[in-house]
C-alpha cells in the first residue's frame, strides 16, 4: 500500500464520512483540484487486498467491507433450549406413528397442539412434511428426518422401544396419570 499523498488522504476521508456513494465531481467539490480519477484508481488498488475495499458502482465510489468477510458481520449465537412437554410428546407420536396428520396426533395425544409446536420441531430439523393423506381435505402428514435419528442416537426408527418394552420399563405405569393429564393441559396453555 503506497503512503497516501494529501489528495489521496482527502479523498479517503471524504468517501469514508459520506452518507452515500459519491461521483468523482462531488468528491472534487470537497477536496479541490487534482487528478481525482487517478487517486481513486490508486486507492482502489491499495485497498484491494484489505478488509475494506473501495469500489465503483455506476460512476459512484464508496467504501465497503470486503465481500468475502460479509459472514463476520452477522454473528450467529446459538442458545440451547429444551423442548417443551407438548413438543416432546408431539415428536414422540410422529416418531412412533409416522407418517401422521395433525388431527391424528391430536387424537392420539388427547389434547390439541398449538401451531408453534410443529414449527419448533421443524425448526429443530427433526420433523418434515411428508406428503398429504388422500382423504377429504388432503391433510398434510408429518414424519421424522435423518437429523432426528442423529440427535437421538438411533440407527433407525425400529430402534425405538416398543410398547412391551415401555411396559417392562414401567413407563406405562398408570400411577400419576391424573397428575400427568393436568400437567399436559397446563403445558399446552403455555405454548
Amino acid at each position: 500500500m503506497t503512503p497516501p499523498d494529501d489528495l489521496a488522504r482527502a479523498v479517503e476521508a471524504v468517501l469514508f464520512a459520506a452518507t452515500e456513494p459519491m461521483p468523482a465531481e462531488a468528491i472534487r467539490a470537497h477536496v479541490g483540484e487534482g487528478d481525482i480519477a487517478a487517486v481513486l484508481e490508486t486507492l482502489a488498488a491499495d485497498y484491494a487486498g484489505r478488509g475494506i475495499n473501495l469500489v465503483e458502482r455506476g460512476g459512484r465510489w464508496h467504501f465497503q467491507t470486503a465481500a468475502d468477510l460479509a459472514h463476520l458481520l452477522r454473528r450467529d449465537r446459538e442458545e440451547a433450549r429444551k423442548l417443551s412437554r407438548a413438543g416432546i410428546e408431539t415428536l414422540a407420536i410422529i416418531a412412533y406413528h409416522e407418517p401422521v396428520t395433525r388431527a391424528e396426533i391430536e387424537s392420539i395425544r388427547g389434547v390439541q397442539i398449538s401451531k408453534g409446536t410443529l414449527d419448533v420441531l421443524m425448526e429443530a430439523g427433526w420433523v418434515r412434511p411428508a406428503g398429504r393423506r388422500e382423504v377429504p381435505g388432503r391433510p398434510l402428514m408429518f414424519a421424522t428426518t435423518p437429523g432426528f435419528l442423529d440427535h437421538f442416537g438411533l440407527e433407525s426408527r425400529r430402534d425405538l422401544p416398543g410398547i412391551d418394552d415401555l411396559k417392562a420399563a414401567g413407563l406405562l405405569d398408570p400411577v400419576d396419570l391424573a397428575f400427568d393429564q393436568l400437567a399436559v393441559e397446563k403445558d399446552d396453555d403455555d405454548d
Binding site: 464520512a17 467491507t65 454473528r75 442458545e79 433450549r81 410428546e89 415428536l91 388427547g110 398408570p174
Partner: protein
C-alpha cells in the same frame, strides 16, 4: 478608566456569579494568580459594584453579599492585627486566592477540552456503516429418554384401563353372625371374642374374621341374644348367651 473596565461594565449580565467576576478582575492584574494582590482585587471589585450601582444596573444579591464580605476583608487587612479574631484576614485572603486558582484551572481545562478534535465537528465516523448483527438461534435439545417416556405417558393416558381387584380371604358379616350364633348357644360362661374365631385363622383373614365377629356380636346383643362385657376401653371383650 481602562478599557478592561469598560468591557467588564458592559458585560455585567454575562458573569457566572461573583467568583467569576473576581476571577476576571484578577486576570486583569496580568500576574500569576499566586502573586495577585488581594487588597487590589478587593478594591477593584468594590469600585466595579459602585459603578454598577451608579449606572442603576440591577445586581443579584450574591454580588452584594460578596461586596460586603470583601469590604470586611479589606478592613481586616488594613487595620492593626487583632490576634483574637479567627480566622485571620490573611487566612481568608489566602482561601480566596486558592478558590480563584481552582476556578481558573477548571476554566482553562474546559477551554482546552473544547478545543480538542471533537467527534462530529473535527473528526467523523463512517456515516453509513453496514452495521453488525447478532442473530440469536435456538438450538433445540431433548434426550432419547424424554422421547420414550413421553410416548409411554401418552400410551398410558390413552390405553383402555381395566381394574382388577385381588382375591382376598375375608369373613363376611353374614358368615360371622351365623358362626357366633351357633357357638354362643353352648357357651354359658363368659368367653373372649377370640374364642369365636375359626381355628388356625391368621394374617388378614384373622383380622377380617375379628372385625366381622365383633360386628356380629354387636348385632346379636342388639337382638338380645348375647351379653357383652368389657372392663375398660381396649380390654378383652367377653361374650355369653343371654340368660
Amino acid at each position: 478608566m481602562t478599557e478592561d473596565d469598560d468591557i467588564l461594565k458592559l458585560d455585567l449580565e454575562g458573569w457566572e456569579g461573583p467568583l467569576d467576576l473576581l476571577l476576571a478582575l484578577a486576570r486583569s492584574q496580568k500576574v500569576d494568580l499566586k502573586q495577585i494582590s488581594i487588597l487590589a482585587l478587593v478594591e477593584q471589585y468594590l469600585v466595579f459594584i459602585e459603578q454598577a450601582r451608579s449606572l442603576r444596573l440591577e445586581l443579584a444579591a450574591d454580588y452584594l453579599v460578596m461586596a460586603a464580605w470583601l469590604a470586611y476583608l479589606k478592613s481586616g487587612l488594613l487595620l492593626p492585627r487583632d490576634p483574637e479574631v479567627e480566622p485571620s484576614p490573611e487566612e481568608l485572603a489566602l482561601r480566596l486566592q486558592l478558590r480563584l486558582e481552582r476556578l481558573n484551572a477548571m476554566r482553562e481545562a474546559g477551554a482546552r477540552l473544547m478545543a480538542r478534535d471533537r467527534l462530529g465537528r473535527d473528526v467523523f465516523r463512517r456515516a453509513a456503516p453496514e452495521g453488525l448483527r447478532t442473530v440469536r438461534k435456538a438450538r433445540w435439545t431433548a434426550e432419547i429418554y424424554d422421547l420414550i417416556a413421553a410416548y409411554g405417558r401418552i400410551s398410558a393416558r390413552t390405553r383402555p384401563v381395566m381394574h382388577v381387584v385381588h382375591d382376598r380371604q375375608v369373613m363376611t358379616l353374614e358368615a360371622a353372625i351365623e358362626r357366633v350364633s351357633a357357638l354362643i348357644g353352648s357357651t354359658i360362661e363368659w368367653a373372649s371374642i377370640e374364642r369365636f374365631l375359626p381355628d388356625g385363622a391368621s394374617g388378614t383373614f384373622r383380622k377380617s374374621a375379628l372385625a366381622s365377629s365383633f360386628l356380629a356380636a354387636l348385632e346379636l346383643a342388639r337382638q338380645g341374644r348375647v351379653e357383652l362385657a368389657q372392663k375398660s376401653p381396649f380390654a378383652p371383650l367377653y361374650l355369653r348367651a343371654s340368660a
